[in-house]
Symmetry: C2
Subunit: 511 residues, 2 copies
């Protein structure tokens, strides 16, 4: 499905694939160690785990920068027959990109970043729990210093800045300026829309949010919904962690986590749908065929996030979805849900409520959280903002952008795991994904005109098939921007996202 | 505590320690991958996991056979100052042993065994579930073929047999003939004792075994008892698996599993005590000081098993233990346990009942299970028994030794995980451990005269301290036989074990 490469393209390509498969095996091992650290590892295992991860990262980097890869790649690139195959040409393009990037980094720096990230995660957990920024601060400083070192090794693209090569790791080819060009108009459009909603006369019925539902049943319901939308539990798991995530560990092994609390049952379901969306992408990548090759890998985090956002928002916050899901939920939760109507729950899951915590934010304010993070991490990378000043600047922005007073750093700049784990330049992909999701959704509605009826029957196969055929199966064949053009005929913009919000929220709020 | 090596012994020793620490890091990674496979990995992750484990095993073997280790070892061995330190001399002796053994194995064979074991485990799980020996048979044949290949690489010791180098992996220095010399008299003594018990006029009250106790509370109670005897949950976990096990993953990370069913609450507690006993040994090894060096490692599986058996049997099946544990259990389980007396539960957990499943066997018949396995695996290694004939021979022996008719292979030769995972030569260590436990226990009773009062108060600190000081802290400083002589003044024998059984069971059965 994803490649016309038949029969065997060349001995050099085969050897290249074999070397990359071994490197990918090390990547899988590292992913398993990380998953374990985030979900089950006892606290005292942390320092040695950091040694393990540093060692695997070193071995992985040695394989990825093996000069033999360079030789084989050059041989393949000069093989016209090979390059006339469009899929293989794309594969080689991406292998070249990865190789060029990897060889710019000294192994010691890779190991240092891996070790620091694993250690910093343990400190962050404690600092967050105790709301103690001072405890985490030296580690955050070290992470930003290492990120800057890494960015300098990659080199600043012409006309760009130090943040760009970091962003490029998560969103290939993107630049801070480009992000600014997307975020600026989005922000300008969101602000008045948010003001209008907050001033709306109609209030959302608070009773669904006041429900307390038993954890055990919530877990079962999450599992049921994840399975129903297509998550393959023979090739995956659903666990719990403070910060929900998805890890595509290996072919046949994609794991998601969610988090449950008695009084936030719909948040937990949203979180499960979000991670299951990521997981459906991972499970749809042709790993069995091409493991280790770009053709089996995700395009970037923006597209990855488009998959999670779509299931969380376009599906999971839609009226048709709830007209199927509410009766199912009543089966699971019994009398507690009996009085609830689809209208009530639909309005409730779409309630706009500026808040402190990004992962609990509604669709409208969510992107303001992301923009805040983009601005401050960019400023810290550029050296315009000192890590020590982060809490003050964070709290100031929360006041200005979202009207929220931050009571402590746990609910402020210590809330996210990303920087602790060295993921700097990652945040913008959340909003890119949100925008891609809305833009793809308009194309999907055209391709599947009776989509709402499918959702209302709890049938998700047609939607998943579309995603599999048009996105998942192709791995990194096209970059995000090109994929967007192919699927929607337009470059990424914020129009579809605002239409999505307006169409849904205006009737709910009666504005 | 474990070494007088101060300050730094030599540059060569330091470098050696550093190389071995890296190899141990790979061992820890492999252990994490195995733990994951046994507890949480989804089924479709199995085939790629086998690739990962094979890769790590290869890397580990390359490190362990690095010629630089040979050079450094030779330099250390010729350094008289270094070798005058008894702890370091012991360390070098064991490093030499490991290096000699490792260098006899080709890396390809190591990788092949690792891959096969990981794959065979998945097949065994399915075969066991379906009670389908034919499905597992080719894998079992392959495991025995690979084991024989491995044994031939190690070489047969003078006057020994092919089984010896396999046994030596788990019980350093032991031989099949030696095991025979211990098992023979034990068997001769056990048989009439068992007959006497089975003919005893007094029956054990069946009511405690008929209790059904909720799983959630059982889990909590197991956790409570494990913590109480000294298991450090900051540096460990307790999970569930079909075949309970302990994995010392890394410094600060020792994990145990148990298994729970509503109608076997005391079996579950026994299983937890058993694995916690292993874990206390792992947590007591001086890994923080010497990780990767023999001084931080377990002597062998016989001694490892002595620790688990002691907590399971000498402690967990004693009257003093239950006079503390029963009131605690009543706190956890409420009214269901109210009518139960210490005498009733004490008799119940000591009931002798020949049965099909080794891990459910009582103390008396347990060793007959082990001897059966020793005999058949030895015969299969020697080529005296074909794998195809295993079920018939197994069932025949169960009839003769334990008077049990085997209804299906699931309850027969497919019940154990060991051979699937390539652990051939492992079984005898279960009985060695049982004998060591009884013999050590007599020494401990002399060292702590009021031990029973401690146990009756639920105070396990004095016992644990004795084990820590006399066994755990020393790693592989002494071989098992030497340790036994040091602690008990005698070589290993079956006298203490039979005294232990007789003193306990004769009053219970009124014989």
């Amino acid at each position: 499905m994803t490649t016309e490469a038949s029969p065997r393209p060349s001995a050099a390509y085969d050897e290249l694939a074999s070397l990359l498969r071994t490197a990918a095996t090390l990547t899988s091992i590292r992913a398993t160690l990380s998953w374990d650290q985030e979900t089950v590892m006892p606290p005292r295992g942390g320092s040695f785990r950091a040694e393990e991860i540093a060692l695997v990262s070193t071995l992985e980097h040695e394989r990825l920068t093996d000069p033999r890869i360079g030789e084989l790649l050059a041989a393949c690139e000069s093989d016209r027959g090979l390059c006339s195959n469009e899929a293989i040409a794309a594969d080689l393009r991406e292998i070249r990109r990865d190789f060029e990037r990897a060889t710019k980094l000294p192994t010691e720096l890779v190991a240092e970043i891996a070790r620091t990230s694993s250690e910093a995660l343990e400190v962050w957990k404690e600092a967050r729990q105790r709301s103690d920024f001072a405890l985490f601060r030296p580690w955050l400083e070290k992470q930003f210093r290492l990120a800057a070192d890494k960015a300098r090794c990659y080199g600043i693209p012409e006309g760009g800045e130090l943040y760009d090569p970091l962003l490029d790791e998560y969103e290939p080819g993107a630049s801070a300026r480009e992000i600014e060009g997307i975020f600026g108009p989005l922000r300008a459009a969101l602000a008045p829309f948010l003001a209008e909603i907050l001033a709306a006369p109609r209030a959302i019925d608070p009773s669904p949010r006041a429900l307390r539902l038993p954890l055990a049943r919530q877990r079962e319901f999450s599992r049921f919904v994840a399975e129903r939308i297509g998550f393959d539990f023979r090739a995956g798991r659903l666990d719990e962690s403070t910060h929900p995530f998805t890890e595509g560990l290996a072919p046949g092994d994609t794991r998601i986590t969610s988090r449950f609390s008695e009084d936030h049952a719909t948040d937990a379901l949203g979180s499960t749908l979000h991670e299951a969306g990521h997981a459906l992408y991972e499970q749809g990548l042709p790993k069995d065929l091409h493991h280790g090759l770009p053709l089996s890998q995700a395009i970037g985090l923006g597209i990855h996030e488009s998959q999670s956002r779509m299931w969380e928002n376009q599906v999971g916050r839609s009226r048709p979805f709830w007209s199927w899901a509410l009766p199912e939920a009543k089966r699971f939760f019994g009398p507690a849900l009996e009085p609830l109507s689809v209208d009530q729950i639909y309005a409730s899951v779409n309630q706009v409520r500026p808040s402190l915590i990004r992962v609990e934010a509604d669709e409208t304010t969510y992107n303001l959280h992301v923009m805040l993070r983009f601005d401050v991490e960019r400023a810290m990378v550029r050296g315009d903002l000192r890590v020590a000043d982060l809490p003050a600047v964070w709290n100031e922005r929360m006041r200005g952008d979202l009207g929220q007073e931050v009571p402590d750093d746990r609910s402020g700049c210590l809330q996210d795991i990303h920087w602790a784990g060295g993921a700097i330049g990652y945040f913008p992909t959340y909003t890119l994904g949100t925008l891609y999701a809305a833009q793809f959704w308009e194309a999907i509605r055209q391709a599947i005109p009776d989509l709402d009826e499918h959702l209302a029957r709890g049938e998700f196969g047609a939607l998943l098939s579309w995603l599999r055929e048009n996105i998942h199966a192709h791995g990194r064949r096209w970059r995000a921007g090109e994929l967007c053009l192919r699927l929607t005929g337009r470059p990424l913009g914020h129009g579809p996202m605002l239409r999505h919000l307006g169409t849904k929220l205006r009737p709910i709020y009666g504005i």
